[in-house]
Symmetry: C2
Subunit: 104 residues, 2 copies
Amino acid sequence: MKELVDFRADILKALAQPTRLKIIDFLRDGERCVCEIFPAIDEEQSNTSRHLNMMLAASVLSRRKDGLKIYYAIKHPEILEVMDIVTGIVKLEIDGRHELLKAI
Amino acid sequence: MKELVDFRADILKALAQPTRLKIIDFLRDGERCVCEIFPAIDEEQSNTSRHLNMMLAASVLSRRKDGLKIYYAIKHPEILEVMDIVTGIVKLEIDGRHELLKAI
DNA sequence: CCATTAAATGACTATATACTCATATAGTTT
DNA sequence: AAACTATATGAGTATATAGTCATTTAATGG
C-alpha cells in the first residue's frame, strides 16, 4: 500500500529535474501543446513527451486534447507557490555565499 | 556553470524521496542528532547518514557538532511551507479520487 | 592509552532515471 | 484511402540513486 509519504515524494520528484523545471517555467502563463513546449525548452520531442507524461502521472500537470494537439497545463496553482519558495531559498543561499566571499 | 534551474532541482531532489521525507518530518520540531534520527525513521545508520549529508549539501539541512554527536536541523523554515503545500495537493488529489469512486 | 560511542565512508549491488533513435499510433486534410 | 502532423512508445545505453555490510574516523571517558 502506498503511503502518504510516497505520494508527496512522487509530486516532489516530478518537480526535481532541470528539464521538468524548464517545462514548468514555460507553462507558468498557461497551457501549451507539446509542439510548443519542446522547441521552447530545446529538448527532443520524445524526451519532452516522457517528462510531460511523468508529471501528468504525478498530478503535477493536467492534459487536454484538441484535435491533433495535446495541451498540458499546471494542474494546481500551488505548484507555482512551491517553485517561488524554492527560488527564494536558492537566492538566500547565493546571497549567503556572496557574503562569505566578501569576508575573505 | 551551474544554472539556477539546477540549484532548484537540487533542493527539490533533496526533498523528493520517502526516507528523506521521513527525516524532514522528524526534524519538524527542531534539531536532532543522527543517533536519534535513524531509530526514529527505522533506517540503518549509514543510510541515514548518507541522506543527511545529501540534504546538507543541497542546503536543506544545517549541521551542528556537539561532542560526539552531530545535530541536524531544517535550515530554512520555508522548506516546511513547501512540505505543507505538497501535503495539501496530495489531499486534494485523494479527495478527487474519492469523488470519482463515489460517482461510479 | 584503551575502550566506547557517534558519525561518515568505501565497496558493492540492484534498481531507477534521463536520454536517444527509430517506429507506432492517432487524428486531420485532401 | 493516402499523405501529413502531433504525440507516444519500444528498445537500448549511460549514469544516478538507494540501500547494505564492513570499516574508518573522530570525540569522550575510564
